[in-house]
Symmetry: C2
Subunit: 313 residues, 2 copies
């Protein structure tokens, strides 16, 4: 060839390794109407681990009334055979949830708060300040028990009622979660409104506030198709933990349109193409995505999953 | 806020202005089974111009047998009221097509060649060398007439039969089209296989070979969901012309999976979010995308279009 590869391209700015947090069993399923049997959920988790996933968010110990799909959290987690080398975080909304999670044998939890006031009140049923006070004893007990803890910050970029989330509000809310003892903060674009420049603004604001990139994760929704481009922008600033959902399952019931989480297969396709190893077999993952969407009686939203599962041309 | 926006983020490396080449009336429709009336196609073009598009690829003067959907090219183009400030390129495959395009009043054409041998033989019915010889008199006549001419290079990254396209092969094939007199080369990822690092490799190879960024355009398909991330990667190297299709319509019949072109609304959403003005009203465009997909009797593949057209939550 005539040219040579230049010294600084996108790849030179990206992390060498990316950890994918697979959220389909919890975030992906929670809003689905068709209630799956516990054994199907366990089969999903097993297939994800077979495909090479090392972090699988397994379920949520919320009230069964609030999220009927995850009412089997206790039974599911007890029946799960945990594999060495795979982490199985579970979402806990409050102390009662933490107790259930510990009784079921969980060793890693996730907590969640909203950067916006309206979403906090409508989705979590309390103000941001009240939510933080409720989480404080949860976090303390979890850390006392030596549990790993990640934290989700919802509506970090915008909220359907409050509009764009100011940078300082998002940074303060996320730092408050880290100050509770969270090992990692997942910056959540719950309604999929972010674009790559906004992503860099917020990640930069965290970095400028003293939070290091290795404590940050990103969690994008594909409502407007921006998920992968946003991941690329975040990775350019050193973020190396990315949440995604097999088949693109999930999506906030509060978001307009039907789009869900960033599809894990699309993400793996990009990372492997960039020479960043994920350890995940994209074809096995795509087959799993198509299978679970079949169990849910719906089409697979993820693009790579559909393409890889299609019969040869 | 605590931090300050750093001196160099993605936005600092991006072009200030991006021209979108809207390809839905040609590339978007050509493989659709339901044949649309000419008046519906004209309504589509008018609505795209109403939404703010300034470059609309209108039709193709191919053989009606090869592409039944575009058999009305002559009538359509004659009936079209061309607006000042809007360009209406048409695809011409050969001299006969050029004659028809000129008779219909076209002032800008697009020609097409394949970077891979197999696609050239299977899709264009001749070898790459033969295809280039066939295009030579077309290009000469078009330039003699003072027509603007863009060129598409298909399979610039990979081909379903031949596998990855070597960089030097893609660069040589694209330069041959520019040497024919093309004002602009659209680098086409016909099967959607590219990822951002590969995009930068190829754009860099063109730049290293002496082709300036302002003569390059990119044309991505969303088979594996990579379209927008690839655009971002290309823009980082100075590419400022991007092909896209309203609603994500289109898609090579030779690609696995059902994914089509990059959806224009997703692209506009990203660009506007990055502070790059497109002049396009994304909501008017989304409504047009949903409308034309309804005329075709199919779901709208584009994500932003679906989200923007959904009823409020």
């Amino acid at each position: 060839m005539r040219g040579t590869i230049p010294a600084v391209g996108i790849r030179d700015r990206l992390p060498r390794r990316v950890t994918i947090v697979e959220v389909s069993p919890r975030d992906g399923l929670q809003a689905e109407e068709r209630i799956l049997p516990t054994e199907t959920k366990i089969a999903l988790i097993e297939r994800l681990a077979d495909a090479g996933h090392t972090v699988i968010e397994t379920t949520s110990f919320v009230s069964p009334k609030a999220v009927p799909q995850l009412a089997d959290a206790d039974e599911l987690f007890k029946r799960l055979r945990q594999r060495p080398g795979v982490r199985y975080p579970v979402l806990v909304p409050n102390e009662r949830g933490l107790e259930r999670a510990m009784a079921a044998g969980a060793t890693e939890i996730a907590i969640l708060a909203s950067a916006s006031e309206s979403y906090s009140r409508k989705n979590l049923g309390r103000s941001r300040a009240e939510a933080m006070e409720m989480l404080r004893p949860v976090a303390r007990r979890a850390k006392d028990q030596g549990m790993r803890m990640r934290a989700y910050l919802s509506m970090a970029f915008a909220d359907p009622w409050d509009g764009p989330t100011p940078l300082d509000v998002a940074v303060d809310a996320g730092r408050a979660l880290l100050d509770l003892g969270a090992d990692e903060l997942s910056i959540g674009d719950t309604i999929g409104a972010a674009t790559p420049g906004k992503v860099q603004d917020l990640v930069d604001a965290y970095l400028a506030s003293g939070v290091s990139a290795d404590r940050l994760a990103v969690h994008f929704h594909d409502t407007y198709g921006q998920g992968l481009a946003n991941v690329l922008a975040a990775m350019e600033l050193g973020v190396s933990v990315v949440d995604a959902s097999a088949g693109g399952l999930g999506g906030s019931p509060y978001a307009r349109g039907a789009a869900g989480n960033l599809a894990t297969e699309d993400l793996v396709w990009m990372l492997e193409g960039l020479g960043i190893r994920t350890g995940i077999d994209v074809r096995a993952l795509a087959a799993t995505a198509v299978w679970i969407c079949g169990e849910l009686g719906r089409e697979t939203p993820g693009r790579a999953a559909r393409a890889l599962a299609a019969p040869p041309a």
